[in-house]
Amino acid sequence: MNDFPLLTAVTFLPLAGALGALALGKTPEACRRFSLIAALAHLAFTAWAMSRALPLTEDMAWIPALGARYTLEMDAVSAVLSLMTSFLTVIAVLVSWKEIQEKVGAYHALIFGVSTTALGVFLARDLLLFLVFWEAQLVPMFFIIGIWGHEDRRRAAFKFFLFSIAGGLFMLLAGIWLYLAHGGATGNYTFSLAALLASPVAPGAQVWLLAAFLLAFAIKTPIVPLHTWLPDAHTQAPTAGSLLLAGVLLKTGSYALARWAIPLFPQAFAEYWWVLAALGSGGLVYASWVAFAQTDAKRLVAYSSVGHMGLVVLGLAVWKTASLEGAVLLMVNHALTTGALFIMVGMLGERAGTREMAKFGGLWKTMPTFSGFFLLFAMASAGLPGLGNFVSEMLILLGSYQSAPVPAALAFAGLVLTLAYVLRLLQQMLFGESRTGNVYHDLTPRESLILAPLAACVVVLGVAPWSVLDLISIPLKALLA
């Protein structure tokens, strides 16, 4: 512990950015520039930290009276998700350049707040520390939706808050129960993940504790039927809000499932994994079906997001090498493609003042660059091979069939349902004739600059997915063992 606290820096550097952004709040342009530089610097820093020998750990006393420690660890899974978080933070700053004109300082500070709290969730290895980051997560997003959102923002923000806090409360109680039960049984009162893993509590108690943890994570992921806050939140959030919600916040839910809930309660999970698998693949089918009926493009993408997360949940529930690696990879791929689709729908919304699909059509003619990108991300989302999502989907589908044939078969059907709403989206937006006659200008250089790196990532992850799989397979093997 003699060297530089790298992980603390990774986690809290965005807060420095937040302070800077607040200070520059009076001059919006300077604030944006500063935020961009800060986010880029943080991205570079995270990448540099990642390039060190993983896993990195930091551990020191925090609340000695409770046995709570300040423990951070970055293994490859945490590292990949952290990198994704700081990457999406950069993108979030860029997409807000024109959209956000009011209270610019506070807005950017909150964006950085989302980043820090999510990084904390990805890196924490002490239950109490984790819970603090977990609960703190909802604060910045609540304000982002509630202040900078669209017409019905207050209701959506309130709903988001209510759902999250409800889940969080049960988990908090379960966490304390776990702490007491574990302490009582071993005499060692601690929140340390490693210690809690080493001696699981009695199977009877595990079921209830798992249920409480699951509730929190299921709301965040979200797992059907606890997903109804998400379409509202997405529809009302500003573009960067949707991006961070889909790309970062949802991932904390599925990540926590794999890092905390499943390993902490192995017996209960072994007994009830099928519930999770059924909810996952059932949710995929259900959400894809509902997505097909949507008229608002952003809501459609939101439901597609629920569907994809259902597949992630299936991969986690099966808990085998292939399905688990696929699930983690899909978290990344989903963040990129769904994030990109949210951004693009947002760009269109900025131009047209509406996201109703019926108000578009024929964009291919007037906005060729936009349409090319849109087609790419939409096809990635539909699982076209050669693009990122395909690899993760195949790992999950082929990897779960043996142990969960029925949920897997249901998820196979998801391939068709996903394609159905994606094609409907494309047909309504890009093809046919313009239904209003309005002509919008094609992408600006700034907008192309936002989408190009996302597109590049989608292609690289489709063609050379081994580059990420090689990394994450090591910690995931340890997790499975």
């Binding site: 302490g183 060729p368 990897g399 043996q402 799989l469």
Partner: protein, 629 residues
């Protein structure tokens, strides 16, 4: 060999990507020439590979892809004479179609997009042809599906074309679900996705497992190859530009399903039930395709249904255990059907987008004799009249079915023979109506002048359509079997009992061809044709029943598509927004009422609630800390 395999695959991919990224900044001629040259390069590489290939089967690894647990995907190719023959055919036909398209698409705006997708299509098709790993094959499999979708909807501003593309993509995706399921089963039984290994281990599969796998792959093939029960997308796919129909929806992509089953033939061969199923799907589709083709007035839709029907014959041969015969018919069909389609494209442009054969007639033959002769050669093939390639390949298919013992195969043989009569009948109906007599609705314009090259470039196809029969003359002729010898040694290729049934089959083939011709003469010869009104009434009345493809499309619409759409609305408004959201929010409200927290919550003062939460948390922790000490 590795370099050659790479050189077959890489050029079209390079061409497609270059066009996608920079095409809009390149001069038109550069785009066109680049697209065509990449295919030519692939063709040369394929021919070189064909001549230098030592024989047997060889698996080569081109690149890493991904692997986790039992699932391994790598970009491996499996070279054998079957794959290389197919690759030569695909690149050759594609090259001709690319060159033809340069003229066909003259004056069109979206040429960059067109040639980009065309190149990507050829790349994907070659992946299907060469791939060893099923996931790699699936990359091509989905790739052709996507390109087909994009190209059917090429004229995207017209809604119905986009819809037709959508339909094609979704129906083939339904087949792909079975493909994925089959891969999942393979992963959990054999633990491999390599075709070479699957074929090698096929013997160890139980009959039940082999049947299950075969049926899954058959369903996947039915999607791509437009066979029962998934065939309804192909007639609509004619909304694309005609060269696209020729390349994708006649010569190459639709044969992908049959080709897949050839590659995996050892698996199918384990189960006699699976073989019979393959044969039955093929036989029924072949017959149904004939009936539907007979009812069409649109020249492209006739050809579309004829494709469905001819691919059915390929499956039938395969189900009768004759890989060579199936491949023989596949090759010959590729030549004559692309010829027919490209010829039809010329006709349509000459007649200013007229596609109804009742509005064509003798003036067309007199005005454009070259196109007429080209089309006639293709028609003779389709009708299986000697000495065309189509005659010999159809004969080989009939021979294979005839050679199989059992009632079921005998019934299929009768079906196939009747189908052959009908095929010849609808083909000459088309020829007589399109090239002889007077049109029902006379043209107001002069026939358009086409660039000379557009028809000229089709002659190589015509020569092959006439002469390709020599690659596998029937056994009785004794100079036989070049293709059979080439394919010998590929797992699953069994030569049927030599020539015993060949004579009978060829005779029936001959009789069917001329029988159909005579029927068509009886009904449609210029002098025997009734007045236009009666003719139209007859075509629309009696034969119109077949036009809709025997109502299958309407059935699917009523049973699947419409309920799916309607239920999606109910699920959203009723279940999601109503039931689930209502229940969850109701729960929340109940808790809120039940507690003192109700008021600040209801007024939405979250900040207060946050402070209370933090305070509560702090108090709880303090109490805990105190308790533990």
């Amino acid at each position: 060999m590795k370099i050659l395999a790479f050189l077959i695959l890489a050029p079209p991919l390079f061409g497609g990507l270059t066009l996608a990224l920079t095409g809009r900044n390149l001069p038109r001629r550069t785009c066109e020439v680049l697209a065509s040259l990449t295919i030519l390069a692939s063709f040369f590489a394929a021919v070189t590979a064909w001549f230098t290939f030592p024989g047997g089967r060889e698996v080569l690894s081109l690149a890493r892809w991904f692997s986790a647990g039992p699932v391994t995907a790598s970009m491996d190719v499996l070279l054998d004479p079957l794959a290389l023959t197919m690759a030569v055919m695909v690149t050759f036909v594609s090259f001709i179609i690319h060159v033809h398209s340069i003229w066909y698409m003259r004056g069109e705006e979206g040429y960059v997009r067109f040639f980009c997708y065309l190149n990507l299509f050829v790349f994907s098709m070659l992946v299907i042809v060469l791939a060893d790993n099923l996931l790699f094959l699936f990359l091509g499999w989905e790739g052709v599906g996507f390109c087909s979708y994009a190209l059917i909807g090429h004229w995207y501003h017209e809604e119905f074309r986009g819809k037709a593309g959508q339909k094609a993509f979704i129906l083939t995706r339904i087949g792909d679900v079975a493909f994925v399921a089959a891969m999942a089963v393979l992963v959990s039984t054999l633990g491999t996705l390599s075709i070479a290994q699957i074929d090698a281990q096929a013997i160890s599969l139980s009959a039940g497992m082999a049947l299950a796998l075969s049926l899954l792959f058959l369903f996947a093939a039915a999607g791509k190859s437009a066979q029962l029960p998934l065939l309804v997308w192909l007639p609509d796919a004619m909304a694309g530009p005609t060269p696209v129909s020729a390349l994708i929806h006649a010569a190459t992509m639709v044969t992908a399903g049959v080709y897949l089953l050839m590659r995996l033939f050892p698996v199918v061969a384990v189960s006699p039930d699976a073989m019979l199923m393959v044969a039955m799907v093929g036989g029924l589709t072949a017959f149904m395709g004939c009936l539907a083709a007979l009812g069409q007035r649109d020249i492209k839709r006739i050809l579309a249904w004829s494709t469905i029907s001819q691919v059915g014959y390929m499956l039938l041969a395969l189900g009768a255990g004759d890989v060579t015969g199936s491949m023989f018919h596949l090759l010959c069909h590729a030549f004559f059907k692309s010829l027919l389609f490209l010829g039809a494209g010329c006709i349509i442009q000459v007649l200013h987008e007229e596609q109804d054969i009742l509005n064509m007639g003798g003036f067309l033959r007199k005005a454009r004799p070259e196109i007429f002769w080209l089309f006639l050669i293709g028609a003779l093939d389709l009708a299986s009249l000697p000495p065309t390639a189509g005659f010999f390949s159809k004969g080989r298919v009939l021979e294979a079915v005839l050679a199989q013992p059992g009632m079921a195969y005998q019934a299929l043989f009768i079906l196939a023979a009747c189908g052959a009569v009908l095929t010849s009948f609808y083909t000459f109906r088309l020829v007589f109506l399109a090239f002889w007599g007077d049109p029902v609705k006379p043209m107001h314009h002069e026939p358009a002048q086409l660039p000379t090259g557009m028809a000229r470039v089709l002659w190589p196809l015509a020569v092959l359509a006439l002469g390709a029969g020599v690659i596998n003359l029937p056994g009785t002729w004794d100079v036989s079997g070049w293709l059979a010898r080439t394919l010998d040694g590929i797992p699953g290729v069994v030569q049927p009992p030599h020539g015993e049934q060949a004579g009978t089959a060829e005779l029936i083939d001959l009789a069917a061809g001329f029988g159909g011709l005579a029927l068509a003469w009886f009904f449609y010869a210029p002098k025997r044709r009734p007045d236009p009104e009666i003719l139209v009434a007859r075509e629309d009345g009696m034969l119109g029943v077949f036009r809709s493809g025997l109502g299958l499309d309407a059935l699917y619409n009523a049973v699947f598509a419409r309920p799916y759409r309607a239920l999606s609305g109910i699920l959203w408004k009723g279940v999601d927004a109503g039931l689930i959201d209502g229940a969850v929010m109701g729960c929340g409200r109940m808790f809120a009422y039940a507690s003192e927290l109700a008021r600040p919550l209801a007024t939405g003062r979250i900040s207060l609630y946050l402070i209370m939460l933090a305070a509560g948390l702090a108090a709880l922790l303090a109490a805990l800390a105190a308790g533990i000490k």
